[in-house]
Amino acid sequence: MKHTLNLTGRNLFDLDDYSVEEIEKIFETAKVMKEINSREYKKIPTLRGKTVATLFFEDSTRTRISFELATTRLSADVVSFTSTGSSLKKGESIQDTVYTLNAMGIDLYVVRHSCPGVPQLVNKYSNKPVLNAGDGRHAHPTQALLDMFSIWEKKGSLKGLKVAIVGDILHSRVVRSNLIGMKKMGADVVVCGPRTLMPPKIEEVYGATCEYDLKTAIKDADVVMALRMQLERQTEGLFPGLGEYTSRYGLSNKMLEFAKDDVLVMHPGPMNRGVEILPEVADSEHSIIIEQVTNGVAVRMALLFLILGGKPGREVA
C-alpha cells in the first residue's frame, strides 16, 4: 500500500467524512481485491474469525449479495438479517434488534434501511463500525465508491472530468453520495431531470450544476450515468408518464453523440431498459454497467478489509 492512512474502526455513513487520500486508498485496495477476485480460488484468510452482520431492513438483492460475497472472500463470517421473517414483524425496535445481535458478537454492521439516519442509529446502539448500504434517499456511499472506482480505473483520475447524472435526482441516494464523492475528487457534476424530480438548492448544497435539458447536460461529458425511473412517481403526480420521460431523458445513441467520443455510460441498476436507457446504449462499448457490478465486490472487500483492520499478506497457516 502506498499510504499509511488507518481506517480501522471507522464508520461509513456517507463520503463527507472521508478525505481524498482515504478515498484513493480505498481505490488502491480495491484494485488488489479485484485481482484476487479474478483468481480461480477467490479467497484470502485475512478476516478469519470476524463476524459481519448485514441488516437489510429494506429489500435488496444485488447490494446484499455483493456485501456477502465480499465478506466471505475475506474469510469473515456473515449473518444476514432481513426485515421479512424477522422479529421486526413482531414489533421489535431497531434498538432491541441491535442489542440482541451485538450480544452475539458482531464486529461490523452493514445496514440498508428506507429511513435516512438509521446507520447512525445502529452505530449508536452497537458501538461497532457501520457501513451504510443505503438509507432512504440520503446516502449510498459504497455505490458511489464503486462508481468512482470504475471511472478512476478507466480514466486514471476524476479530476476535471465532466460527469452527467440523469433521471430522478430527488429520490436518489446514489446521486447524493456521488455528488459528495465526485466533487471531492475534482469532477464537475451536472444533474439532469424533470424539475419536479429535482431536490431544492442542489447547486448550493453540493456545488453541482443543474440542467433540465438532456442535450445540454451531456454535451462533452466524460461520463453519463442514468438512474432508474420509477413508474410510481407518475401516481405521485411528479411526472406525466414513462413515454414522455423517455422521449426527453432516455439515453439513446443519438443523444450520446453529444458526449465525448470516449464517454463512459453507467447505471447503478437495476435498469429499466427502454425507459431511462435504450438497449443500444446499455450494451454498447461505452457501457461499463456490468463492470460496475464486478467492481462493487472489490470495493466492498476493500472497505471491510481496511475497517476491520486486515493486514496485507497475513496468511494463516
Partner: protein
C-alpha cells in the same frame, strides 16, 4: 405574607425594571415600594436577582387525558413552575380531545387539585379534531375555554374553517390557527431546502404554512373573528401578518423559542429532538421572525411544549413524532441568546411572555403591580448552568437545547401567593 426584598423588579404598567420591595399578602401583591418593612412576613432576600411577573404560555400540550406517559397535568404544572410560568394554556389534542364538556371539566378539576400552575384550556374547533364537523363550541365557551384550536391538526376544508370562525365570532376568544396545508407538507420531515436535500428527507415547504396563513387571515377579515397564528415559522408569514395588521384585521401571532434560536442546520445528524412542526427553517426565516417580534408584528413568544417519551423519539427520524418540550428552557434560552447578546431588551422579552399573552386570552395574569394576583418568579441572571436531562421535571426530555450553556437560573416561582418552585 411574603416579602421579596432588594430585587430588581419588572413593573408591568411602567414596563420598567426598578429596585423595589414586593409584599405579597395571601393571593395578592399588596404593596410595591422602595423599602417595605413587615414583621409578619417571610422575608426573601432577592439582592442581585430579578423578579418578573409569572410567565404566561399560550401554547402547550399537557397530554392529559390519554397520553399521560408523555406528560400529565401534575408533571406539566411542575415543569411550568420550574420554567417560571404561572399560567399555561393547554391544547385540545388529548384523547379524548377537548371537544366536549366532560373532558374540559376533568382537566379544570385536575388542574385545580394540582394547583401549581394556572391552567387555561383551549377547546377544539372541530369534533375529535377531525376537521369534519364544528365542535360544540358554545358549550365549550360556557365551560370556560379561553380559545379554540385544532392544533396539531389543521382544518383543510376552507368552508369548515369559515363556518367555525363565523359560529365562534360572537364570542370574544381567539381562533388559534395551526396553519398547514397537508397536500403541501405531505410526508415532510424537515424544512424543504438545503437540509432536506442533504439528509434525503422529504421537505415541508414554507408555502404549506403561508398559503394557509393567508387563508386564515382572509377568514378573520370576513368573519370578524380574532385569528391568532400559532408558531409562525417563515419570513412570508411575518409579512402576511404585518400587512394584515396594517389592514386592521384582528390578527395576532406567536413564535416559539426554538424557531427564534435554531435553524434547519440543527437537523444535520438526524437528532429527532430537532423534529417538530412547523420545522426549523432557514436563517433568513429566523431573522425575519426576530424582526417581526421586535417590531410587534409577532405579539408573543409561546413554547409549543410538546412532550414525547424517549422510546418514541429514539427511533428512525421518519418514524419519530413531531414536537419538542419547552417550558423549562424558554426563558433561559431567550435570555441567553438575545438579551445577553444585546439583541433584545430584557423588558421587551418579559412583556412578550407575560402581559402580551395574557391580553390575548383576556385574563388578569402575567401582571406585576399592586393589587394583581401574586404570580411571579425570581431569577438570578448572572448564574449559568448546562441544560441537561436529569434536571428536567417534565416527564419527557425531548429538548433540542440539551447540553446548551444557559444564563438565568430560576430561584423561586410563586403562583397565587404560594411557592411552586424553590431552588
Amino acid at each position: 405574607m411574603i416579602l421579596l426584598k432588594n430585587g430588581m423588579v419588572y413593573l408591568s404598567d411602567e414596563k420598567k425594571i426598578e429596585k423595589v420591595d414586593v409584599l405579597i399578602d395571601k393571593k395578592i401583591i399588596k404593596k410595591i415600594a422602595p423599602v417595605i418593612e413587615e414583621k409578619n412576613a417571610e422575608v426573601i432576600d432577592c439582592a442581585g436577582r430579578h423578579i418578573f411577573p409569572g410567565f404566561v404560555d399560550l401554547h402547550c400540550h399537557l397530554r392529559d387525558p390519554g397520553y399521560t406517559y408523555k406528560e400529565d397535568i401534575a408533571s406539566g404544572a411542575e415543569s411550568a413552575a420550574k420554567g417560571g410560568f404561572t399560567s399555561v394554556c393547554c391544547m385540545p389534542n388529548t384523547n379524548p380531545a377537548i371537544d366536549n364538556i366532560s373532558t374540559l371539566n376533568y382537566i379544570m378539576r385536575k388542574a385545580r387539585d394540582v394547583g401549581k400552575t394556572k391552567i387555561f384550556v383551549i377547546g377544539a374547533m372541530s369534533k375529535g379534531l377531525e376537521g369534519k364537523e364544528i365542535a360544540n363550541i358554545a358549550s365549550l365557551v360556557k365551560g370556560g375555554v379561553v380559545g379554540l384550536s385544532d392544533d396539531g391538526n389543521c382544518i383543510q376544508v376552507a368552508k369548515l374553517q369559515l363556518n367555525v370562525m363565523r359560529y365562534a365570532s360572537i364570542y370574544d376568544i381567539p381562533m388559534i390557527c395551526h396553519s398547514e396545508d397537508y397536500s403541501l407538507s405531505g410526508d415532510g420531515q424537515v424544512n424543504y431546502g438545503p437540509m432536506s436535500t442533504k439528509l434525503g428527507l422529504s421537505g415541508i415547504p414554507t408555502l404549506a404554512e403561508e398559503i394557509t396563513v393567508s387563508r386564515d387571515i382572509m377568514l378573520a377579515d370576513v368573519t370578524g373573528s380574532h385569528v391568532h397564528i400559532a408558531h409562525a415559522s417563515t419570513k412570508r408569514t411575518v409579512e402576511l401578518i404585518r400587512q394584515a395588521k396594517k389592514d386592521g384585521i384582528k390578527v395576532t401571532a406567536e413564535v416559539t423559542p426554538h424557531h427564534l434560536v435554531l435553524t434547519e442546520k440543527a437537523c444535520d445528524g438526524f437528532d429527532t429532538n430537532t423534529k417538530m412542526k412547523p420545522p426549523l427553517r432557514s436563517e433568513q426565516d429566523r431573522e425575519a421572525l426576530l424582526e417581526g417580534l421586535m417590531d410587534g408584528t409577532i405579539d408573543v413568544i409561546a413554547t409549543d411544549h410538546a412532550p414525547h417519551s424517549d422510546y418514541e423519539k429514539e427511533l428512525e427520524f421518519v418514524k419519530a413524532p413531531f414536537g419538542v418540550i419547552g417550558l423549562e428552557s424558554a426563558f433561559p434560552v431567550l435570555y441567553t441568546t438575545f438579551v445577553r447578546d444585546n439583541k433584545m431588551k430584557l423588558e421587551e422579552l418579559v412583556e412578550r411572555i407575560t402581559s402580551k399573552p395574557a391580553e390575548i386570552i383576556k385574563k388578569n395574569v402575567g401582571i406585576l403591580k399592586e393589587g394583581a394576583p401574586a404570580d411571579l418568579n425570581v431569577f438570578d441572571l448572572e448564574e449559568s448552568f448546562t441544560f441537561n436531562e436529569s434536571e428536567i421535571l417534565s416527564k419527557s426530555k425531548n429538548s433540542p437545547f440539551l447540553g446548551m450553556k444557559m444564563w438565568g437560573k430560576i430561584h423561586y416561582t410563586i403562583c397565587d401567593g404560594k411557592f411552586t418552585w424553590k431552588l
